[in-house]
Symmetry: D2
Subunit: 235 residues, 4 copies
């Protein structure tokens, strides 16, 4: 991995976003071994879209950080979930399912096809994206039906996979994108970088800048009981 990503995979992902989004995005990279996994309040409070990659050490992620992340997504922060992060605590909590899948690491060619070619996440993306060698992720992928299905991958071994999926959860938008195994230089691929940059733009908070999650409210005064409305209607 050090060979493919000398500064760490996170630096490559960050550099790809900066390359394509320029001054319109401030990109920061943090790692799991930092305190609070690099996501203390002051960082989360100033993050519009969070990109999450994880592998093997999901169980070591602090539940308090996950709680915080969860509230933040429900409050409007965008979340990009990458590759093996299908098993991350935050993704499983947002989905409510096992998020299981089929896999095999045998250097298959992966072709990523758009099934939603006018969706903003596919802008400027080749049809298909060709990844010469990659780990196979296959169906059945145990997720809730996506609100929008964007990409389906084919593997030279014969499998298919819903590799790009969108959901809204609370006020936040979630995009799962399966490419990105650590044994292949996937995040250097121009098509993959384009998808990530597009997805960051798509996942930005729409307009509810307070980032508080929806709360139960004891709704005040009703609106139909002004004199004359209800009893006279349709008479």
């Amino acid at each position: 991995m050090a060979e493919r990503y000398p500064g760490g995979m996170h630096q490559t992902i960050a550099a790809g976003l900066t390359e394509l989004l320029g001054d319109s995005a401030v990109v920061r990279a943090v790692t799991q071994d930092q305190p609070e996994h690099g996501l203390p309040d002051e960082v989360l409070a100033t993050t519009d879209v969070l990109t999450w990659w994880g592998h093997a050490t999901h169980a070591a992620v602090d539940d308090a950080v996950v709680d915080h992340l969860h509230q933040r997504v429900l409050g409007g922060m965008g979340l990009l979930v990458l590759h093996s992060a299908h098993f991350s605590k935050i993704f499983r909590r947002l989905m409510g399912t096992t998020c299981s899948l089929a896999w095999r690491n045998s250097g298959d060619t992966e072709l990523i096809w758009s099934v939603n070619p006018s969706h903003p996440i596919t802008a400027g993306v080749p049809q298909p994206i060709v990844i010469n060698e990659h780990e196979m992720y296959g169906e059945f992928f145990d997720i809730p039906a996506p609100d929008e299905l964007i990409f389906i991958s084919a593997f030279s071994s014969g499998e298919v996979f819903r590799s790009g999926c969108c959901w809204r959860r609370g006020k936040g938008k979630v995009f799962y994108f399966s490419p990105g195994d650590q044994e292949y230089p996937v995040y250097h691929h121009p098509g993959i970088k384009r998808v990530l940059a597009n997805a960051v733009l798509w996942a930005r908070p729409e307009h509810s800048a307070d980032f508080s999650a929806h709360a139960v409210i004891n709704q005040p005064a009703p609106r139909f009981n002004r004199p004359g409305i209800a009893e006279g209607v349709g008479a």
Copy 2:
């Protein structure tokens, strides 16, 4: 509540199902104060569809029971979530959102309209179901977009609510149905009883009787690599 439901609300719900489903269903009722909330292995293992009502004491529900329930739903057990159980641990875990809503208890009339009149849950159900007095549940209801929206309620105070919603999670089917506040005799209503009976039939496991949740698999032999297939294609 003892007045409206002398044997307990659970007995009224159970009696309604038995009345409409007859011998085709074996109906059992359990309560939160039983050991394991009445849901030990041998009960869950022989339950096709579970109906869950809860209020105020959600936090007292044992996490181990919720874990078990969750696995069971993902494995194919149907789940009907009733009224204030929108805040139950099991529903929030399956949805991944806050499941918050607006409410007010002021005896509003509720009209329940089908927006999916050929769906099996609406068979034999009047359009609309009229509940003369009920607690108001209103939007915004913070749930994932339902896979199928079945009912929308109007309240005489002016609110609306997505009162009947279907989702698939794993192999299981989930139906949320909002009527059923303990201060009103809602579960005696013929239209409500019909919806519950229909929903039990709808939520039955389809065909995967093993009830194991989907698991990650290291997929064996690929299928495209027989000689001659790939290199000769399109020639």
Copy 3:
């Protein structure tokens, strides 16, 4: 084609349904060259689910028959749309889109994967269905997002295709299933026969046996204006 389907493809499809559904289904086969394409009133009026295969001569299908079919589907008749019938008048009318796709006839292997393994259409269906040689249908398939996505196909040439898709239209259910090119003996395949039989059962009318399409109604008396309801609420 006479070699693969000596009695005609329609007879093979019909025989497959009879084999799997037995006495529970009365199966009839008609062809385009019959008067009214074999679909006069008395036939349509006694059909619960119609299976439609067509190729090359879509334009010759009588618009009056299509009008009748359309009303019938909106009234509750199930419709299975097979292979090249993606370009049939009835399917395009129900979808509202071009229903275009990518294709190539070069004997590719097709693997049909379920992405909805607890759906009734997938009961008893192998994962994947393997068709050794078939015409390729690929994305982008210009359809409305399916209400339920059931199957995705992979082709040995690298393409993918949403090959099994469900929609509700009016009171009727529509299932598109892409296998079935006339140059390959696809409808003799046990897995394909199983899907068709399952889909017939799934597409049956639910409960609105009148088969009339929804009509605009000038809704009578409102329901909230009984004395005391509206003006007293929330007081």
Copy 4:
């Protein structure tokens, strides 16, 4: 109507868009009585989003114009369908259903509730929008399940209606919004004007500026058949 909309309803709608969108939008208004209903090639070819209101004279709309509109929407033009245009030829063609509904003109109060409060169409829109008097549109509304449900209306007479619905068709986006009966000054309402302006922004073509609809393609060379890929995989 001349009293409520002295320059015509179309001028009020256009003025509302100009007021809120400013220089970012060039707004034009045309009417049915113009040649080609004011929509010749040079107009459609330079229109990103079309707003359509119609009533009573749907049948008089030229099928050739509808064909042209349909192709244009499938090619990426946004379409806003207003009020009684649920029965317009273009909307019914895009939906594939009867688009029937229940209605009654008895001056009911309408409350329009967002069920998707982080969707861009709801930005800056009050919860609910209150229309003191309006024609009632009620369920069942015979449309395909919306890709995104945005608004639900309550009427003081007790009905509900899915009053704001989004669909993608081809490359185009379609928004149906039910307020706007000619007997009430609805398009002067600030909340309604805000929804229309937001919807215009939402419905803009994403990035496929050629505006051609998707066409069937005989897909060229496959991508998996380079030497060594397929036969070696998984070995």
